[in-house]
Every structure is written in structure tokens, then in C-alpha cells.
């Protein structure tokens, strides 16, 4: 359980002359669900983009024993680090099934892909019902499921989910959180990037709190929930 899958140390990144991340350290163990919480503009999405190597960065990112820094985004993807982007970014004019197929685009094991399809429809029965429907016509929650399933079709070791709860009803978020635990049981490690601290902490093992490009708190969810400053700032309770 305590094998580190992703180890980030001293990560600095930004856009042009504007630095966003100021030397972050973060560790994710195999089989964990780790929540990264923080408000708007704290640098959450920037961190994901830096890990995916879509923007320039300094420091070290070690994933499954491999240094990601010199890799291109495609190479990072191939190591098994897959992002479910903010706003879902589905192929709206394609069917659910075609969207899932796109997730498996770079895989070279046709039988494995067939098995993955079966597993996705088991994990998300609603997607099986809607497989021939255009992804753009799904409800918000179904779209998020489709985005998760598409990411899982790539057989990730680590799934990074950005703002999963965005624009969704609380009851739908709860359903998705259950699915996340199921995904973890299937052996996928998850980094959950969220503004909704309640939702994130309800499913995560450990958490990191990011503020203006610095990690200001880290620990198990139980520890973080006891932290009085955090309770005031993020949970809205004294």
C-alpha cells in the first residue's frame, strides 16, 4: 500500500513570466485516492498540466520509477498517467461508444480493449444504455461518467480527475464518488483535484491543500478535517 507511485519534488511551473507553482512536494502511493483541494487560482490545474508535461516546469516528477520531466505529453500518457480534464472535454458529436474507443486509441491489444469495454459498461450501467447516443446529449452526470470511462479505457495506473463535481447536483456527485471507490478497488490510483472539499474528503485517504502555488497542509483526511484553520477556511464550520 505504501509504494510511492508518483513523487513530485520542488516543482515550479507557470505561464511565461507569471509563476504559478512555487516548489511543490507531493506524493501518491499505489492504490490511494489523494485529494488535492484549494480555491480558484491556487494552481491545481496548473499542477496537472505540469505533471502531464503540457507546460514547462522545473523540479522532479517521478512516476512508477520513471522521471517524467524530459518526456512529451504523449510519452507521459503512455506511462499510464491519464487525465480526465476539467469540463469533461468529450467528443460531443460522437456516440458514447466512440468516445470510449477514443480513450483506447493508442492501445495495441484489441482483446484487452473489448474486455475494457465490458468492464466500463459494468461500472457505468447507464453508459451501456446510452452507448449509441451522442455524448453531447447526455446529462452532466452522465457526461462526467463518460469522461471517467474514456480515461479508464486507456488503462491508467494513475487517473487524475480535474474538477469532477463542477456543475453537478450533489446527489450526482455522490454517485460519482462511489464510482471512484469502485475504480480504486479495480487497482487504479486516483488523484482527485477538487474545489468541493466535502466531496473530495469523503472518498479520499489523504489530502493536500494548495494555496497560491504552495502546499499549505497535508495529511490523512482525518487529520485535515480536525485542523481548525482548514475547517474555517474550507468547510465553513468553526
Amino acid at each position: 500500500m505504501s509504494n510511492p507511485l508518483l513523487t513530485i519534488s520542488g516543482l515550479r511551473a507557470g505561464y511565461g513570466a507569471a509563476p504559478v507553482l512555487f516548489g511543490l512536494d507531493l506524493k501518491i502511493n499505489e492504490g490511494e485516492i489523494v485529494a488535492l483541494v484549494g480555491s480558484n487560482g491556487a494552481g491545481k490545474t496548473t499542477l496537472l498540466r505540469a505533471i502531464s508535461r503540457m507546460i514547462a516546469a522545473e523540479g522532479s516528477i517521478n512516476f512508477a520509477g520513471k522521471e517524467l520531466m524530459p518526456l512529451t505529453p504523449e510519452q507521459v500518457f503512455a506511462t499510464g498517467l491519464v487525465q480526465v480534464p476539467e469540463g469533461r472535454q468529450l467528443f460531443a458529436r460522437m456516440t458514447v461508444e466512440e468516445n470510449l474507443r477514443m480513450g483506447a486509441l493508442l492501445r495495441r491489444d484489441p482483446e484487452g480493449v473489448v474486455r475494457s469495454f465490458a468492464r466500463m459498461y459494468e461500472l457505468f450501467p447507464i453508459l451501456a444504455e446510452r452507448r449509441r447516443q451522442m455524448a453531447g446529449s447526455l446529462s452532466g452526470g452522465e457526461q462526467q461518467m463518460c469522461a471517467l470511462a474514456r480515461g479508464l479505457m486507456a488503462e491508467p495506473k494513475l487517473l487524475m480527475v480535474d474538477e469532477m463535481s463542477l456543475g453537478l447536483a450533489p446527489v450526482v456527485v455522490d454517485q460519482l464518488l462511489v464510482v471512484l471507490s469502485d475504480i480504486r478497488k479495480a487497482g487504479v490510483t486516483i488523484l482527485l483535484v477538487e474545489q468541493d472539499v466535502f466531496a473530495a474528503f469523503s472518498v479520499a485517504d489523504r489530502g493536500y491543500v494548495i494555496e497560491t502555488g504552495h502546499i499549505v497542509r497535508e495529511g490523512t483526511v482525518a487529520e485535515l478535517e480536525r485542523d481548525s484553520d482548514l475547517r474555517k477556511a474550507y468547510l465553513g464550520v468553526a
Binding site: S52, M54, T72, P73, E74, F77, A78, V82, Q83, P85, Q89, L90, F91, A92, R93, M94, R101, M102, G103, L105, L106, R150, A154
Partner: protein
């Protein structure tokens, strides 16, 4: 699938036998139609599959034209060397301009490519080796049958390439880029590589068509070689037939070339209007081209048109 391939093979054989009729006019129309179909098909790779509306294809055509002309008229090399030179120039150009401007999306890409033809035309018009403004005269070969068969081979090769693309991982990646480029990138698609490759393939076939046309027509000048209206016609033919399909652009350009020739010989003013009218009607009534029309009519009947008209809030 096999039946369809056999049917297409039969069509190609029948087309190949057309020169046996000995009808010179028909053969010349045929060369024209085949070259246009190739141009529309080549545009289809970057415009239809990758979704990048290129107005740089007339530049690739011009480079293919001039590559062939310079090799034959100035360097006295054989025709096939000229074809290779033209294709090489176009491919190099596609890589050089593709890398920077394929970062632009949508209209911005189209606008950036628009300038290319004018720039290249101006450069060519000032080089001695390309005959400056006056142009070049290629050695005359009166063998329309050969040009016809060459054009047919090129069209078959281009269509075969597109058929492969449509079924390949590469083609799926291009479609992903067309539908949502950010998502394609997140799914591990090397978007830059895919887009540049698509543009290079498009440039390659476009340049070969230009080279064949140059040798056939024997006289070229900058204005006709880098003619932007040619690019517009590629776009209209591909859009009319069905962008992003394998056969749509070919069928679309056959039909449009036929109608155009028909009008040009009877009411020539109407012929000039044809492409404008076609693109307006096609966008409203069959936004995804003939190919979509065929499927849509089978499923929905006349409601197909109503649905499209309604989608435009008319």
C-alpha cells in the same frame, strides 16, 4: 466491404477504358475531372478529416506545377523527375509552414494559409529560374491518353490513401482532433505530428496533380499556378460531396465538374455562379455533403431537408 471494393475496382477499370472511345473532348474533360477529384480528395485529408480548412493547398499545387516546369523546361530533366521535385518542394513547404501555423485553430488557421499563395506567387514571379512573370513553357507531348491514365492512377492512389486513413489509428486521431483537439491531446494523441502529417499527405497529392496538369497544359505562369480560386473549388467540391468521407469528395467533384462544363458550354455566366450557389445550398440543405444526404434520405425522407433547414433557423 469486399463487395464495395470490387465495385470501386470495376468503376476504376471502366474509367481506365474511357480513352478507347477515342473522343478527344471527352478525354480532356476526363483529365480535368480526375485532377479536380484528386485535389478535392487531397484537401479532404487536412480539411475533412483533421478539420483544418486549408487555403494553402493552392500553394502546394503551384509548387508541384513549378517543380515540374522548372525541371523540364529549365533543367531538361524527364517528367517523372519533375513530378518528384514538385512533390518534394510541396512536402518541405507543408512541414515548414505546418509546424508554426497548425498551432492556430479554426478561422485563424484558414486566414494564415490564405496569405501563402500570394507570397509564393510573388517569390516565383521574381526568380529567373521560374521564368519570372512570364512563366515557363514545357516540352509539348500530345498524348492525352497518357495524361488521362496518369490522372486516374493518382486519383486511385489518393483515394486508397484516404481509405486507409479512414480505417487507421492515424485517421481516428485526426477525427479526434477535428472533434475536440484538447480532448485528443489528453487522450495521448501527438496532435502536432498528426496535423503536420495530414498536411504533408495533402500537399503531396496536390503537388502531383499540379505537376501532371502543368505537363498537360504545357504553359504555366505564377497567376494560374497559385490561383486561390482553385483552392476554393477544392473546398466546395469536398464539402459538397462530404468532407471526412472516403468517396464523397470524388463523387462531389465529378458531379460538380460535369455540371460546370455543361453550363460553361451553354450559359457561361451561370457557370461562374455555380460554385457560389452550390456552396450556399449545400451548407443549408446537406451540411455534411452528398454522403450524409444519401444516408439521411433513406432514414428520414424529405424530413432530412426540413431538419437541416430548421437547424439554420430559416
Amino acid at each position: 466491404m469486399k463487395g464495395r471494393v470490387a465495385l470501386l475496382g470495376l468503376c476504376a477499370v471502366l474509367l481506365a477504358l474511357l480513352p478507347l472511345t477515342g473522343d478527344d473532348v471527352l478525354i480532356q474533360y476526363g483529365i480535368d475531372a480526375l485532377l479536380f477529384a484528386t485535389l478535392a480528395q487531397a484537401w479532404n485529408i487536412i480539411g475533412g478529416f483533421a478539420g483544418y480548412a486549408s487555403f494553402g493547398n493552392s500553394s502546394f499545387y503551384g509548387l508541384g506545377t513549378y517543380g515540374t516546369a522548372i525541371a523540364m523546361a529549365q533543367l531538361h530533366l524527364p517528367f517523372w523527375v519533375g513530378l518528384c521535385l514538385g512533390a518534394f518542394l510541396a512536402v518541405v513547404c507543408a512541414v515548414l509552414i505546418g509546424l508554426p501555423i497548425l498551432r492556430l485553430r479554426g478561422h485563424y488557421f484558414a486566414i494564415a494559409t490564405l496569405g501563402l499563395s500570394a507570397t509564393l506567387s510573388a517569390i516565383i514571379a521574381n526568380l529567373d529560374i521560374s521564368g519570372r512573370n512570364i512563366g515557363l513553357i514545357l516540352p509539348l507531348t500530345r498524348n492525352d491518353t497518357m495524361f488521362y491514365e496518369l490522372a486516374l492512377v493518382l486519383l486511385v492512389a489518393a483515394t486508397g490513401t484516404v481509405a486507409w486513413i479512414a480505417r487507421s489509428r492515424f485517421g481516428m486521431g485526426l477525427i479526434a482532433i477535428r472533434e475536440n483537439e484538447d480532448a485528443a491531446q489528453v487522450m495521448g494523441v501527438n496532435t502536432t505530428l498528426y496535423k503536420v502529417t495530414a498536411l504533408v499527405l495533402s500537399a503531396f497529392f496536390t503537388a502531383l496533380a499540379g505537376g501532371i496538369h502543368a505537363y498537360w497544359i504545357t504553359f504555366i505562369d505564377p497567376a494560374s499556378a497559385f490561383d486561390l480560386t482553385l483552392n476554393v473549388r477544392m473546398v466546395i467540391m469536398a464539402m459538397f460531396g462530404g468532407p471526412g468521407t472516403v468517396l464523397g469528395p470524388v463523387i462531389g467533384s465529378f458531379i460538380l465538374t460535369f455540371v460546370y462544363q455543361l453550363l460553361a458550354s451553354s450559359i457561361s455566366t451561370a457557370a461562374a455562379l455555380l460554385f457560389g450557389i452550390v456552396i450556399v445550398l449545400a451548407v443549408i440543405f446537406m451540411p455534411r455533403g452528398l454522403w450524409d444526404l444519401a444516408g439521411g434520405l433513406r432514414r428520414l425522407g424529405p424530413r432530412y431537408f426540413l431538419q437541416n433547414i430548421r437547424a439554420h433557423r430559416l
